[in-house]
Symmetry: C2
Subunit: 233 residues, 2 copies
DNA sequence: CGAAAGTGAGAGCAGTGCTCTCGATTGCGA
DNA sequence: TCGCAATCGAGAGCACTGCTCTCACTTTCG
C-alpha cells in the first residue's frame, strides 16, 4: 500500500476506514440487524446520504465487514495454530489450540460470528469477495492435517470414498492448497471440521442451554473426538 | 380443544391463526427480516394497530412462529423415525431416516430453519416457551439411541466422562426422558447429534459452496460416521 | 339493562434505507 | 495557469417500518 497520491484519495481511504470502524462498533453491540447507516453517519458527524458515496448500500457495508471478520477469525486461528506449533506441540496440540481459539472467538465476537455463520440474511447471496477469506477458517484446520500428513503422522485408513466424493475432495485440495493429500485424509479432516463447527454452532445458538450449559467440558471432549476422527490422535 | 364458548373467543382464535398463517407465508418468501406486521395486517384487510391486540410485538409473533416451527420439525423427524421403525428398520435405519428428514426439512424450509438455528437476533434471548419444543429435535435422535439401548443393540464403551459431564448427561436424561441410559451412551449420542447438526448447518450457511456443493454424497457419508459415533453401527 | 371489557380504525411519532438535486471543492489535462 | 469535469457533503423527500394513543363501536356478563 503506497502513499496515496492525492489528498482526496487519502481522505477517502481514511473515511472509508472510519465508517467501517464505526459500523463494527455498532455491530458489536447491536448486531447486524441494529446496524443503521444513518446512525453510523450521525456518529461520524456527517449526513446519511454522504455515506452512500463510500458504500452503495447497507449490504455492501455488511459485506465489507464480513470479509474483515473472516480475516480476523482466520488470523486468530492461524496464530493459535502457529504458536502451538512453535512451542513444540504436535499436530493434535495445534488442532486443540485452534479449536479452542475458534470457540473463544465466537464467544467474544458473537455478532461477528453471527454475521459469518448465522442467517444468510436476505435471499441467499454469497458475494464472491467473501469466499476466499471464508476458506481460511476450515483451511486453518485442514492445514494441520496436511502438515501432519507430510510429517508422516497421519494414517491412511477408513472406507474409500466414491467418485463424487473423490472429485469434491480434489476440489477442496486445489482450493486450499492440499496437493498430495489422499482424498481419505482430506475427507476425514473435513469430518472433524464439521464436528467442531457443529459443537460451536450448537452452543452459540443456545441449544445447550439448561443442559450442557457451561459447555467447556463437553467442548474439550468433542475436540478429542475430532482428533480421533481426523486421525490426529 | 373444546368448542369455543363465546363468539368473540372463536373469532379471536381464528384471527390469531390467520395472522400466524399469513406471517408464515411472508416468512417463507422474505425471511425473518422481511416479516412486517404492517404487511401482514394489510394482507388480512385490517389496520396494523389492530394486530397488536393479538401479538403485543413483532418479537412475540416471531416467537409463536418459532414454537410452531420447532414442532413442525419435531413432527417431521418423529414421523420419519417411526415409519422407518414400522417398516422393520434397525435403529441405524431410523437414524438415517431422521437425519435425511432433518436435512430435507432444512432445505425445503430455509427461512424457518434460519429462524430456529440462525442468528439469535437481538441480545440473546431464549423465550421459555421455546425450550421444550426445541428439545424435540435432538430428542428425536437421542430417543433412537435410547430404544437401541433398551433393545440391547448399543454397546457401552468409550472413555468414562468426568463428573461435570456426568451430571450434565443426567440433566439431559431427565429433560428428554432417557432414564436408565448410561451417561456414556447419552454423550455418544450427543456427539453424533452434534456432527449431524454441524453438517446441516455448514451446508445451510453456504460453506460448502464450490467444494462439497451437491452435498448429498458427503451427507450420506457423514450420517454413517454419526452411526459409528453413536454406536449404532 | 347497563357497566365493563374487548376490538378495530385512524392519526401520529420516531426511526429506517435510499434517491435526487444543488452548491462547493478538488484534481487533471490543455 | 486556467477551466472543465469529477467528486463530495448537505438537505429535502419518498416509502416504508414498529409501536402508541385515542376514539368509537360491539360483545359479554353480572
Amino acid at each position: 500500500m503506497p502513499a496515496h497520491r492525492t489528498a482526496r484519495e487519502r481522505a477517502r481511504a481514511e473515511l472509508t476506514a472510519e465508517i467501517k470502524d464505526e459500523a463494527r462498533r455498532q455491530l458489536a453491540d447491536s448486531g447486524a440487524n441494529g446496524l443503521s447507516l444513518r446512525a453510523v453517519a450521525r456518529e461520524l458527524g456527517m449526513v446519511s446520504s454522504a455515506l452512500y458515496r463510500y458504500f452503495p448500500s447497507r449490504d455492501e457495508l455488511l459485506t465489507a465487514l464480513i470479509v474483515d471478520a473472516y480475516n480476523a477469525l482466520g488470523d486468530t486461528l492461524d496464530t493459535a495454530s502457529a504458536s502451538a506449533s512453535a512451542s513444540g506441540g504436535s499436530p493434535a496440540d495445534r488442532w486443540r489450540a485452534a479449536a479452542h481459539a475458534l470457540r473463544s472467538w465466537a464467544r467474544t465476537h458473537p455478532h461477528e460470528y453471527a454475521l459469518l455463520y448465522g442467517t444468510p440474511v436476505p435471499g441467499y447471496r454469497a458475494p464472491d469477495d467473501t469466499i476466499v477469506p471464508a476458506g481460511r477458517v476450515p483451511g486453518a484446520f485442514l492445514w494441520i492435517a496436511r502438515d501432519a500428513w507430510h510429517a508422516g503422522d497421519l494414517p491412511v485408513n477408513g472406507a474409500e470414498p466414491d467418485d463424487t466424493l473423490r472429485t469434491q475432495a480434489r476440489t477442496i485440495a486445489t482450493a486450499l492448497d492440499l496437493s498430495g493429500l489422499p482424498e481419505v485424509v482430506i475427507l476425514r479432516a473435513v469430518d472433524a471440521w464439521t464436528q467442531l463447527f457443529g459443537t460451536v454452532a450448537l452452543e452459540f445458538t443456545g441449544q445447550f442451554a439448561n443442559t450442557l450449559d457451561p459447555a467447556d467440558a463437553y467442548f474439550a471432549r468433542a475436540v478429542e473426538l475430532q482428533l480421533r476422527t481426523a486421525g490426529l490422535a
